[in-house]
Amino acid sequence: MLIAIYFHIVGLHAGCSIVSITATLLGKKEYKPVAKIGAIFVIILFSISPIFLLTDLLQPLRFWYLFIHFNPTSPLSWGTFFLCAYPTFTGIYIYFLFKNNVYWSKVFGVISLPFAISVHGYTGFVLGFAKARVLWNTAVMPSYFLCSAMISGMAFMLIVALVWYHFTYQNKPFEEREKDREIIDLLENWMAVFMILYVFYVFSDL
């Protein structure tokens, strides 16, 4: 149960950071609020996600065994190192993003994008390696999880952005409102694309 919540939260912040980094890499000025909203929620969601992982262990005080004993065939063991590398690089990326340093935020965005993908991709491998469960043990599981991460991250950002724009709606000139609406439309279109992909994965899983 805790692990299911953890998977959902990891999906949320991985999706948020993938959208944020992509918006930074595209480099247009009007995408910048999207990148910043994503970055804030990566910090908030990532700081609560390890609580669920640790409390699910039957021996929570032995969590550091994961760092000293490495099993290359186990996706959980790989995930430990992804979960350490991901906040490091994403933290540097977020720091430069809020400093408005375009060059270094792009560099660390490129570095942290594979970690953002792998930090949610490994959870798909975790389920895919459980050979006993017929519905888990499929090869599409990692990409299926990534797709659901993109959907949940985008949906979360859309909700936050809509609430944000609702409160700042009155003070803005007409042109900025149009720009905000365009960004939201773009996000919605990409979300529709990923939802179609998700439905495809659901049916190929069955």
């Binding site: 699910d56 039957l58 065994y65 994961l66 099993n71 065939t73 996706p75 050979k131 006993a132």
Partner: protein
């Protein structure tokens, strides 16, 4: 000289009477807590009971006066002692993140209690569902073939407790042991062969649809073939 030992078990289901003595011996020896088990005698009932009136068996006599009464359901109850299979290629060893699950040189799959972090991943990945989380110690445990008794030269307690000698324990690499002779003489089956784990617990008289639930459709397929005849 290299040590040539591979411990294995053979369970003759034709002799098993379902007395649960192995289960009791295991609980007493290992102090297994309530609600969990290391060996479990599963009671399997199979047959064609709901389709008794409709299905016609191939040995129905067409010249009977009342052929309806000649039809009867084919029912069977069998006892299936279910324990860790000590696979040649164990999935629990593959997925354990801290290498707490390991295989000894003589083939016994074990868990290191000083290393286990209790992540429950091996329990989710095991196709035989033989692992349990000990509610007292918070460790994952399972059948270990009574490794402390085997190392001292004794038989496992479940094998000694079996009143009908349906469980046979021995060295699979020694051709003169009882288990090797039985394996060469009898037709044996393993549980869930489709998982490709190569279990070293063999059964005599195990039906394929019981051993592998995913293959149960074949039975119905054959019944339909019989109906056509």
């Amino acid at each position: 000289m290299e040590k040539k030992v591979r411990w294995g078990m053979l369970i003759d289901l034709r002799r098993c009477i379902g007395c649960h003595a192995c289960q009791v011996a295991c609980k007493a020896e290992h102090e297994v807590p309530l609600g969990v088990w290391r060996i479990w005698v599963k009671v399997v009932q199979k047959g064609t009971y709901p389709e008794m009136a409709t299905i016609s068996l191939p040995w129905d006599c067409p010249y009977c006066e009342r052929p309806e009464e000649a039809r009867y359901p084919r029912m069977q109850t069998l006892f299936l002692p279910w324990l860790c299979n000590h696979c040649e290629r164990p999935i629990c060893n593959t997925v354990c993140p801290v290498k707490a699950a390991y295989k000894r040189e003589d083939g016994i799959v074990m868990i290191d209690p000083h290393r286990c972090i209790g992540c429950n991943y091996c329990r989710a990945a095991c196709p035989y569902n033989v692992r349990y989380a000990n509610p007292i110690t918070g460790m994952l445990e399972k059948c270990d073939f009574y490794v402390h008794r085997v190392d001292a030269g004794l038989l496992p307690a479940c094998v000694e407790a079996c009143p009908t000698e349906s469980m046979v324990f021995g060295n699979l690499k020694d051709p003169s042991s009882k288990i090797s002779q039985l394996l060469s003489k009898e037709k044996t089956q393993v549980l869930k062969q489709i998982m490709a784990t190569f279990p070293q617990v063999y059964y005599i008289g195990l039906d394929k649809d019981v051993a592998d639930p995913l293959k149960g459709w074949e039975k119905h397929y054959y019944h339909k073939e019989y109906e056509k005849l």
